[in-house]
Amino acid sequence: MSTAVSTSGQGAGFTKLSRLQIARRAAEMIPDGSFVNLGIGIPTLAANVMPEGKEIVLHSENGILGVGPAPAEADRDRDLINASKEYVTLRPGGSFFVHSDAFAMIRGGHLDLALLGAFQVAGNGDLANWTTGDRRFPPGVGGAMDLAAGAKGIWVLTDHVTKKGEPKIVNTCSLPLTAPGVVKRIFTDIAVIDVTEGGLVVREMVPGLTLEQLQEMTEPPLTLADDWKELVVA
């Protein structure tokens, strides 16, 4: 587990989670026995920090069920990579299949959960994670739209704000949508937020962060859950 880094320039007394810690917190909350897709970016890191004592089956869009953690460098196999093109391993009970079957699993509603990255998430669960809209760069959709449309639940794993400090959790996505109204939970480097019919509900915040501070970095109004907890990663 990498060390959390202090935020700089915000003058605030809290420490942001690393990417791996975001992935770890999401991994901890996955119900035991789930079949879960890990999308490109922070989500694929989760395979390396799955909690002990639970049996969760990880799906990769490129035709793998039962993805295991990254191998030692000597054990890397160029035929065994995940959606982020990182080397992975296969757990006992795992299987390989053709792309069209991988997406039959996705679109057919067979996955309990998909963990995805995001450029923007709106207060109503709209997700934008495939194009910055900058026409100089080619967009890349990959499996994001299929996952957003097909998995029973969508959790987003993302930094809370952009590199420029702008909110990524917004009233309305300014970027083209991946799918409307699909996100159920947002794991950021400072909070865990549920998307509910009544709006965004903060379940966890990193120690030292106040709701006011979090609200300043978030466009839609936030409510603090009665049973909110400090966001601490094991």
Binding site: V57, S95, G108
Partner: protein, 228 residues
């Protein structure tokens, strides 16, 4: 907690089957028919069932027994009448069972559509025939196609060869037939297997039905020849 889809017996395997359920049953002819599971459904007493299966049962056991019990109100299949399909034939002649006849490729593709999140597809099969009557016909690139809709089920009863505790399956020869595609299309996929193997024992390249499609597995070591 380790995932364990293996249940102790047939009764536990079919637990929850209820009146009015739609049930897919694997098999083509006598190969790959989950006879023990069918008799589990029979023993459950569930009625007003819709059965989706390629054939409509032969002999006195298995699907023929279920149909003979009068608890199947409707069957969706491609080829109901065979040598020995007396139970079905009698009920059909008496108007006691409804028949939806579906071309075999359309039958399996409608199952795949249901399992793959496809809401409809255009097939050339059946165009210009009675079986396309009342269905939307649409021309693509100069050829007519029929719109077919997904076929789902509450339960799929599947016979396979081997399973592990995650529910990965391999089959035996032509007994594979409809099993893998029915496993996609049902809310609850129940499998009877001849052998249970330890997790990791199956070649990950050769698994036919990955674990994600299977809900319950029951080991049937009494592999007797049924009158079907």
């Amino acid at each position: 907690m380790p995932i364990d889809k293996i249940v102790p017996d047939v009764a536990a395997a079919v637990a929850g089957v209820k009146d009015g359920d739609t049930i897919m049953i694997s098999g083509f002819g006598f190969a790959g028919v989950p006879n023990d599971l069918i008799h589990g459904v029979l023993d459950s007493g569930a009625k007003d069932l819709t059965v989706i299966s390629n054939n409509a049962g032969t002999g006195t056991e298995g699907l023929a027994a279920l149909i003979g019990s009068g608890r199947v109100k409707r069957i969706i299949c491609s080829y109901p009448r065979s040598k020995g399909s007396d139970q079905f034939d009698a009920r059909y002649a008496a108007g006691e069972i409804e028949l939806e006849l579906v071309p075999q490729g359309t039958l399996s593709e409608r199952m795949r559509a249901a399992g793959a999140g496809v809401a409809g597809f255009y097939t050339p099969t059946g165009v210009g025939t009675d079986l396309a009557e009342g269905k939307e016909v649409r021309n693509f690139e100069g050829r007519d196609y029929v719109l077919e809709l997904p076929l789902r089920a509450d339960l799929a009863l599947v016979q396979a060869y081997k399973a592990d505790r995650w529910g990965n399956l391999i089959y035996s020869k032509a007994a594979r037939n409809f099993g893998p595609v029915m496993a996609l299309a049902a809310d609850l996929t129940i499998v009877q297997v001849r052998e249970i193997v330890p997790l990791g024992d199956m070649d990950p390249e050769a698994i036919v039905t990955p674990s994600i499609f299977v809900d319950r597995v029951v080991h049937i070591d009494n592999d007797r020849e049924w009158d079907i």
